[in-house]
């Protein structure tokens, strides 16, 4: 072993605690990087397979973009945590470098000891990190598969495979090594630049800026002289606070990005997969018959379902245990079956551009369904739209797949309170009393309208009627529910009137879709949990480092007569100022990231941006609390030590 390596080895042995923390830091970051990429690859494979081989490029871009962003975040956080571990003992370290220089070590030799140190640390920590990361990935997927098990019990086997991504391991290893070097190299470079004697004396350990004097009258009034002291130290000792502010900002950024990621992922998933909320669908379908009239014209005829009976059937179904029902009938207006057209002026610009790009048509063909939900559901929807009973409510929403991308439109310019629907020579005027967004209406009701433009009405001549049933035990209640309908309309009646009654148990059909949704949620919570963990570790580590590094300053303040109460007041204000500063940086960054993530999702689906209001509020609350608690906790631990030791700086 050469001298530089020996010195590095000695460093690691003497500063056991620092060594341990650093190894822990590397293990943590490498394992997280490995796990994140592992999850991303496994998730990609599972999604790709479940979606039936569609959107390969889009999913790949989405997963890898997200994994890339996460690893960038983890890398930054790790550098901060680790350079903190090094900073805690920066003083002793600088002294040592100073002594080395004074006996004739060159800059290069000092840098080499640091490189060796990084090398030793990585050699120990990397394999542990990779193994731990794979373990985390394995356990995570195991848990995910357990969560998917009740779906697997039914029919198809849905399983996320354990993918060992060698790319992930290489990336993590490189990033981990780089992290250590950067964090160890920073203090070394500083020591290398300082004159030897200054390094020994620890002069120039912190650079303090003499900011222009400013009166802190308000601060002083609110927090006393100690408050003014806090404001000054925050303004002048930027270096010490930068780490704290940076790590807090990053945590805010992380939290907003991660939760936004979750919200948008859930929404996007819902858009792509959109399973109908039902286990059983019972359908009444009245087939049309044509009747030749005396004057040689043809009249189309069918037997509508009397909605009063439908309500009674629904009520009896709801009485069955473990069952919830939404029912809806549609389209009594015969002339709408083939779709109608709507004057172009009624349409909002983006939708018109989509359906009629050249603006050549005066009326645009648009399938419109009148849907009458069951009385209870109708009442809920009318309340949501803020209109009285008996109103017609437009569901101003169309979701259309344009190329490989799901796009949401608000098609109708609602200023036109009456919708004129033109079909052949007839014009049907439908007055509109209110409107709802797509997400305010159960997707079952939308499904009744065949996902065309839906107008919810209190009454229709129901040519088709659907009961959408969610049941705890779909197979057990299926026959019982069908019998309820047959009680009202016996089989003979149905046959006679050309009515088809069918019962579909789609619990099994929806399996893959639901599995996909569940999978989405598993991934969301996994990511948010991991990121929050990184953020919290980071903030706690930098803040307590900050306090420990200022031990001497606190001791001096106490020795010239600052009381415990005064010290606490000072720290209170410091934590408040620190929080405000971090929020001022972190919130805009986080919202920016949240928007960027939203844009990443819109590669596959198009939907409006979800502003993370609650997350922002949570951030503000948590930042203030965590800063305050950590500072007070660190300060309380310092108080345990004696003032004399603090003054001596040991």
């Amino acid at each position: 072993m050469n001298l530089a390596a020996k010195l590095a080895y000695a460093q690691l042995i003497t500063h056991r605690r620092r060594t341990l923390w650093t190894i822990l830091g590397i293990v943590l970051s490498v394992s997280m990087l490995t796990a994140v990429f592992g999850f991303a690859f496994s998730g990609f494979e599972a999604f790709y397979e479940l979606s039936g081989g569609q959107f390969r490029a889009a999913y790949y871009t989405m997963f890898m973009t997200l994994a890339g962003m996460l690893s960038l975040i983890i890398f930054t956080a790790s550098v901060i945590v680790m350079s903190n571990a090094f900073r805690v003992s920066a003083a002793q370290r600088m002294q040592q470098f100073g002594i080395l220089k004074s006996v004739g070590a060159t800059k290069r030799q000092i840098t080499r000891t640091v490189l060796y140190e990084g090398f030793f640390l990585t050699v120990v920590a990397l394999p542990i990190g990779v193994i731990l990361g794979l373990a985390v990935q394995y356990v995570g997927l195991y848990i995910a598969n357990i969560l998917l098990q009740d779906i697997n019990r039914l029919d198809d086997i849905v399983e996320i495979g354990f993918v060992v991504a060698w790319q992930a391991i290489i990336i993590s290893v490189l990033l981990g090594f780089f992290t250590v070097l950067v964090s160890a190299w920073l203090p070394a470079r500083k020591a290398a630049q300082l004159p030897a004697i200054d390094a020994i004396r620890l002069q120039g350990e912190t650079k303090i800026k003499n900011a222009r004097p400013r009166k802190h009258l308000l601060v002083q009034k609110l927090f006393g002289f100690e408050g003014a002291l806090a404001a000054k130290s925050l303004r002048r000792d930027r270096r010490n606070f930068r780490a704290t502010v940076v790590s807090l900002s990053i945590s805010i950024f992380l939290f907003l990005a991660a939760s936004s990621f979750g919200a948008h992922l859930a929404h996007a998933g819902q858009l792509v997969i959109n399973p109908v909320d039902a286990d059983i669908i019972i359908e009444w379908h009245s087939n049309m018959g044509s009747v030749r009239e005396n004057d040689d014209t043809t009249r189309i005829e069918f037997t509508p379902l009397d909605l009063a009976y439908a309500e009674q059937i629904t009520a009896r179904m709801r009485a069955v245990e473990g069952v919830s029902v939404v029912a809806a009938g549609s389209t009594g207006s015969v002339n709408l079956i083939t779709g109608g057209s709507v004057p172009a002026a009624y349409l909002n610009a983006p939708f018109r551009d989509y359906v009629d790009p050249d603006h050549t048509q005066d009326a645009v063909g648009l399938r419109i369904f009148l849907v009458a939900p069951d009385a209870q559901t109708y009442a809920e929807l009318a309340r949501a739209a803020g209109v009285p009973h008996g109103s017609n409510i437009l569901v101003n929403f169309r979701r259309i797949q344009v190329d490989e991308r799901w796009t949401e439109f608000i098609p109708i310019n609602f200023n036109y309170q009456t919708l004129s629907i033109v079909e052949w020579d007839d014009v049907l005027e439908v007055p509109l009393h209110g409107q709802l967004r797509g997400d305010q209406v159960p997707n079952t009701v939308l499904a009744t309208g065949h996902n065309s433009l839906v107008i919810i009405v209190p009454y229709v001549q129901a040519k088709t009627y659907h009961w959408y049933i969610l049941a705890d035990a779909p197979i057990d209640v299926q026959a019982q529910l069908t019998d309820i309908v047959l009680d009202f309309f016996p089989l003979e009646f149905l046959t006679e009137n050309n009515i088809r009654l069918s019962t579909m148990n789609i619990a099994a059909n929806n399996l893959a879709d639901r599995a996909l949704m569940r999978l989405l949620m598993v991934f969301i919570y996994g990511f948010v949990g991991m990121l929050t963990l990184v953020g919290l570790t980071n903030v706690i580590s930098t803040l307590s480092t900050n306090i420990r590094a200022r031990r001497r300053e606190f001791a001096v303040l106490q020795s010239v007569g600052m009381t415990h109460g005064g010290l606490n007041r000072m720290l209170n204000l410091e934590s408040i100022l620190c929080s405000i500063k971090s929020l001022a940086v972190g919130l805009p960054l986080g919202l920016g990231a949240s928007y960027a993530i939203y844009r990443a999702f819109t590669i596959t689906v198009d939907f409006p941006y979800i502003f993370p209001l609650w997350e922002v509020l949570a951030c503000i609350g948590v930042v203030f609390i965590i800063t305050w608690v950590t500072m007070r906790f660190a300060a309380a631990r310092l108080r345990g030590g004696s003032m004399v030791e603090g003054i001596r700086g040991c």
Binding site: E226, L229, K232, V556, G561, G566, M643, V644
Partner: protein
């Protein structure tokens, strides 16, 4: 009148076989307005004594009375308030607060006491230490000697009963050392400031009214200086 009275002051570190006696029950008194030098080899207990007199450390047993008040009968907060009003401490390594300017460091004990800043008093002190033009500089922008003069001004600001100085010249060149000692002597003469100074330097000790010699935690000599 005795402004400082030390009774049977003992400080030990560790327990059992590892027990080290830093101070072995020493007693002495200091008259108001006098200049006392404490000398002794390193490890003789000088710094321990000074920390105890300054109320920044607590003894194993014994008592210290400053201006008639027993230091260690007070709780931490009372002691902190007592320190800022009645004691001025000057350390070897200046120990200025790095984020405060020279004048802010000087005013620190005064403002901590919740008093209104007194411009005239500050101006006089700055003048005395010869740092009026550098009042708005941060410690890192001052030389060692200048920093030490700031810390002496900080010790003087509340007209304390006693100034305790722990090797105030230990880290300075001879010119700066002379200036610092002259400043302390000036305060001693001009304001009748009681001064207790720890030093290695025989030349400095001889300028005091009285020299106490410590050895292995005991007072081995205590005599006045004839000029």
């Amino acid at each position: 009148m005795n402004i400082l009275r030390v009774e049977n002051l003992t400080k030990t570190y560790g327990k059992g076989d590892a027990e080290v006696i830093a101070l072995g029950g020493i007693s002495f008194e200091v008259e108001k307005g006098s200049f006392v030098a404490v000398v002794g080899a390193s490890g003789s207990g000088k710094s321990t004594l000074l920390h105890l007199l300054g109320g920044v450390d607590r003894p194993t047993s014994g008592a210290v009375h400053v201006d008639g008040q027993e230091l260690f009968a007070m709780n931490e907060s009372e002691l902190a308030i007592f320190r800022r009003r009645n004691l001025g401490i000057v350390y070897q390594f200046y120990n200025l607060v790095p984020t405060l300017t020279a004048e802010e460091n000087i005013m620190l004990p005064y403002l901590l006491d919740g008093r209104k800043p007194d411009g005239a008093m500050l101006a006089e002190l700055l003048e005395t230490i010869g740092l009026t033009p550098r009042a708005k500089h941060l410690p890192s922008e001052l030389s060692g000697g200048q920093q030490q003069r700031v810390s002496i001004a900080r010790a003087l600001i509340n007209s304390p009963a006693v100034i305790l100085a722990d090797e105030p010249t230990g880290n300075l060149d001879s010119k700066s050392s002379r200036e610092v000692i002259d400043l302390l002597k000036f305060a001693n003469k001009r304001y009748s400031q009681t001064l207790l100074l720890i030093t290695h330097d025989e030349g400095i000790a001889l300028q005091a009214d009285r020299i106490i010699t410590l050895s292995d935690g005991q007072i081995t000599r205590d005599e006045g200086v004839k000029l």
